[in-house]
């Protein structure tokens, strides 16, 4: 009986871990914003928020995007979503925090977590399709 329970536990854990976690790199192109004084690298920060852990809607759960090498005004953050969320629909968008104000994107963005690593296109902050 013990062996059967062990086997079942092993099978269940194997099934759970056979689903890959999803690694997603989010990118925001801030070149136009920097060139036109809409974003100040000293006093402003850009964050990612979403509805699937490790992201959250609470500002404490926001993840900061940074312009790492090569310095090209594209701000990025890589997020690993646990395997249990594979095939779930992530709703997310970006936030700019300034000294005295916070600007949220007006639209909600969506991404289905595929279980595969993904690098998303370099979008503009608070942009709309036309």
């Amino acid at each position: 009986m013990k062996k059967v329970i062990l086997m079942m536990a092993f099978t269940i854990s194997l099934t759970a871990f056979s689903q890959a976690q999803t690694s997603v790199t989010f990118n925001v192109d801030m070149k136009y914003a920097l060139d036109n004084g809409l974003f100040n690298t000293l006093t402003n920060k850009i964050y990612l928020k979403g509805d699937i852990a490790p992201l959250g809607e609470n500002s404490a759960q926001y993840l900061e995007l940074t312009d790492t090498a090569p310095i090209d005004s594209v701000y990025s953050v890589a997020v690993v979503f646990p395997a249990i969320y594979t095939n779930d629909l992530l709703k997310y968008n970006f936030v700019i925090e300034r000294l005295l104000s916070t600007e949220h994107e007006e639209r909600t963005r969506e991404l289905t977590l595929s279980g595969q690593p993904e690098v998303l296109p370099e979008i503009k902050f608070n942009s709309f399709d036309w």
Binding site: K31, Y32, A33, D129, W130
Partner: protein, 438 residues
């Protein structure tokens, strides 16, 4: 003095006699005329009633054909019969008024012939109806939201001429300009979801936001296009790259999936393709259009570079160059299409139909503003695809400069799909009395 008076009195007497005679004549004719007018009106009402009934029948079932009679409901003796390419010869025996117009009879036209007799009057009414081609739109969509459910907008620098229609709801931001007729079953909305919100679209033409929904072509109509390609044109079953040439020929390179290589270009002269090329696989397309050509793919079509008419109809109105592109998948603009000719703007001449589902720009969210899509013709799509993004933090993709090709109101690319619904082309009526031979 006495003589003059006598003449004057005599003249007045004669004049009075003439007036009296004329009045009595009129009095005898008026009831007859009035009766004739009444019988004409009754006969006209009967033919119009039958015509309206037939139009309603055709609009609810576009395959309807047959005969109608007034029976006891309509005054007089009224009948209606439909004529099309199959039986129009039967009508030639009657002194009909119909004129089928440009292109002659084809399977897309139907004539409603109604005649009614009431008393001494007979009225004949003939209404010619036609299934329009989707190429008559400069912009058409069945759904305005993207396949992922995002709103998609017409924006300030967009300029669109010609008739545009959606079965969904137009979304506006800023002040896009519409020069032609704009129609939809739904009122447009701004970014905040209201009409009087943050958008001020400039409608320079007419609008109808209570319009009838228009169905996209069924599989049967696309099948007809494929079958025309098999019988008259050229078909392909591999990924292909087509470059249209100014002499009307088309260079085609096919991809050999076994070797992983593109094969050498083969030139297909105009006489061999007869203006119809179809493939079961994806097509990359560019070039100069000479003559009338329809390109069809069961997969998708990628526009790789400028596509221009050899003779621009805006410069020379005798141009017969006409292109239709029909994709059962998407039609996408290659991410570097704007840069291949050195100009930022992309020229697209033709009518582009994406049935499954969108016309969109590859990687439209990234980079900077690429220029304008200078379209001469139209875009028809099942679900609207984006061509760029806009906002305070920068613009990507293309601005829409969609110019309607007036020729598309009457001319269509070979076998380009038609609408399911009929529209009235002409309405002719004649009143004849029995004394004139009827």
């Amino acid at each position: 003095m006495g003589r003059s008076m006598l003449l004057l009195v005599s003249g007045l007497v004669v004049l009075s006699g003439i007036i009296q005679f004329s009045n009595s004549q009129r009095a005898s004719v008026l009831p007859e005329r009035s009766a004739q007018v009444i019988t004409e009106v009754q006969a006209r009402n009967s033919t119009n009633s039958l015509i309206q009934t037939a139009i309603e029948k055709i609009r609810s079932d576009n395959t309807w054909e047959g005969e109608l009679t007034g029976g006891n409901i309509l005054p007089g003796n009224a009948t209606l019969k439909t004529y099309d390419i199959e039986n129009i010869e039967e009508l030639d025996a009657v002194d009909s008024l119909y004129s089928v117009g440009e292109g002659g009879w084809d399977t897309f036209k139907v004539l409603l012939f109604s005649e009614a007799t009431y008393g001494d009057s007979k009225v004949i009414t003939e209404v010619l109806m036609r299934r329009d081609s989707f190429s008559k739109y400069s912009y058409f969509s069945d759904k305005e939201k993207t396949s992922s459910g995002n709103n998609i907008y017409f924006y300030s620098s967009d300029e669109i001429s010609g008739p545009i229609h959606t079965n969904g709801t137009f979304k506006m931001s800023g002040s896009p300009t519409f020069y032609g007729h704009v129609s939809s079953p739904n009122e447009w909305r701004g970014r905040d979801g209201t009409i009087l919100g943050d958008a001020t679209p400039d409608f320079q033409g007419t609008t109808d936001f209570n319009a009838q929904a228009r169905e996209l072509p069924s599989g049967a109509k696309v099948a007809a296009l494929k079958s025309a390609a098999i019988s008259d044109g050229i078909t392909f079953n591999r990924l292909s790259y087509m470059i249209m040439q100014s002499d009307g020929s088309i260079d085609v390179s096919e991809y050999n999936s076994h070797t992983g290589n593109w094969m050498a270009f083969v030139n297909y002269p105009k006489e061999t393709h007869n203006g119809i090329l179809s493939s079961s696989e994806k097509i990359y397309l560019e070039g100069t259009v000479s003559g009338q050509i329809t390109i069809h793919s069961e997969d998708e079509v990628e526009l790789y570079n400028d596509i221009e008419y050899n003779v621009d109809p805006r410069v020379d109105n005798t141009s017969t160059d006409l292109l239709g592109v029909v994709s059962e998948g998407d039609i996408l603009i290659d991410r570097n299409a704007h840069a291949r000719t050195g100009s930022k703007d992309l020229k697209l001449h033709g009518s582009f139909m994406a049935l499954g589902s969108s016309f969109y720009v590859e990687n439209y969210v990234s980079g900077s503003h690429r220029g304008n899509i200078d379209l001469l013709g139209g875009i028809i799509q099942e679900t609207r695809g984006p061509v760029g993004t806009f906002g305070r933090y920068g613009v990507t993709g293309y601005t829409k400069k969609y110019e309607y090709d007036e020729r598309l109101g009457n001319s269509i690319p070979p076998h380009f799909p038609r609408e399911s619904v009929f529209t009235v082309v002409s309405w002719k009526e004649r009143v004849v009395s029995n004394t004139s031979g009827y």
